[in-house]
């Protein structure tokens, strides 16, 4: 599965993308998040507070119960913050 990290999630994980082989027990966004948090200290720091982590599956915003599989592109990022000052 292809994973993408943006903004401070990327800073904490230490890379902008990686490819992982999922265990069979991981079938939803929520399970993926919990599994990733155990992969390294950087991952743990990134997924420490899951409230602050948003997810997109195949470029659509996805809640914890959305299913994920090996062919999906899954991205993690902080809440979006728009661009301009006003």
């Amino acid at each position: 599965m292809k994973l993408l990290y943006f903004a401070w999630l990327r800073d904490r994980v230490g890379k902008s993308e990686e490819t992982v082989n999922l265990p069979a027990s991981v079938t939803t966004v929520g399970q993926l998040t919990a599994w990733l948090a155990r992969q390294s200290d950087g991952h743990a720091a990134a997924f420490d507070d899951p409230i602050g982590v948003h997810c997109a599956v195949n470029q659509e915003f996805a809640r914890d119960d959305v299913p994920v599989g090996p062919d999906d592109e899954v991205a993690f990022f902080p809440p979006v913050t728009g661009g301009w000052g006003g």
């Binding site: 993408l4 943006f6 903004a7 401070w8 409230i51 602050g52 948003h54 997109a56 470029q59 659509e60 915003f61 996805a62 809640r63 959305v66 991205a75 990022f77 902080p78 809440p79 979006v80 913050t81 728009g82 661009g83 301009w84 000052g85 006003g86």
Partner: protein, 163 residues
């Protein structure tokens, strides 16, 4: 029309192109967002807009389609820049054209509110020599929520309301 780009845009030319050859258009409402030099504290020297290429275009196209479905518009334009920008730089241009001004104004305000909460952009501010990721603002969520319909709030893949 959706454009996601690092280069600056020519507001006058973009707006003129929207109504050229379309004499039934009476109203062009638009909004330009600029980099303000007032950060949370201290002085902003620059900001870098990161985005999620591919998803950004997809989300903006959905946003355009929703505006066209909700109001009697002729055209919608969203131009959003990414990369490193300086105070005073243009970041975003939204425009909606219609026969009537009310539809054009409402659609344009809708586009801007939703851009703040639905488009995958993240803002890194350089303040007093330090770079910091900007946190999301509750009032932006509130502004977007006023456009929420019952139908769209029940979508499974929508942004969770509690985050």
């Amino acid at each position: 029309m959706i454009k996601v780009q690092s280069e600056d845009f020519d507001t006058g030319a973009e707006l003129a192109a929207l109504s050229r050859g379309r004499p039934e258009v009476g109203a062009v409402a638009s909004f330009i967002g600029l980099v303000r030099d007032v950060a949370g504290s201290g002085e902003l020297s620059a900001m870098t807009l990161e985005h999620y290429p591919g998803m950004t275009e997809k989300q903006l196209a959905q946003l355009e389609a929703e505006a066209l479905a909700r109001w009697p518009l002729d055209q919608v334009l969203i131009i959003h820049r990414y990369g490193r920008l300086l105070p005073g730089d243009q970041i975003v241009l939204c425009a909606a054209t219609s026969r009537h001004r009310q539809a054009a104004f409402e659609a344009c305000a809708f586009l801007m509110d939703w851009l703040k909460t639905k488009a995958p952009f993240w803002k890194l501010e350089e303040v007093n020599g330090e770079s910091n990721w900007v946190a999301a603002r509750q009032d932006d969520d509130d502004a977007a929520a006023r456009w929420q319909t019952d139908q769209s709030s029940s979508k499974k893949n929508d942004v969770p309301e509690t985050e």
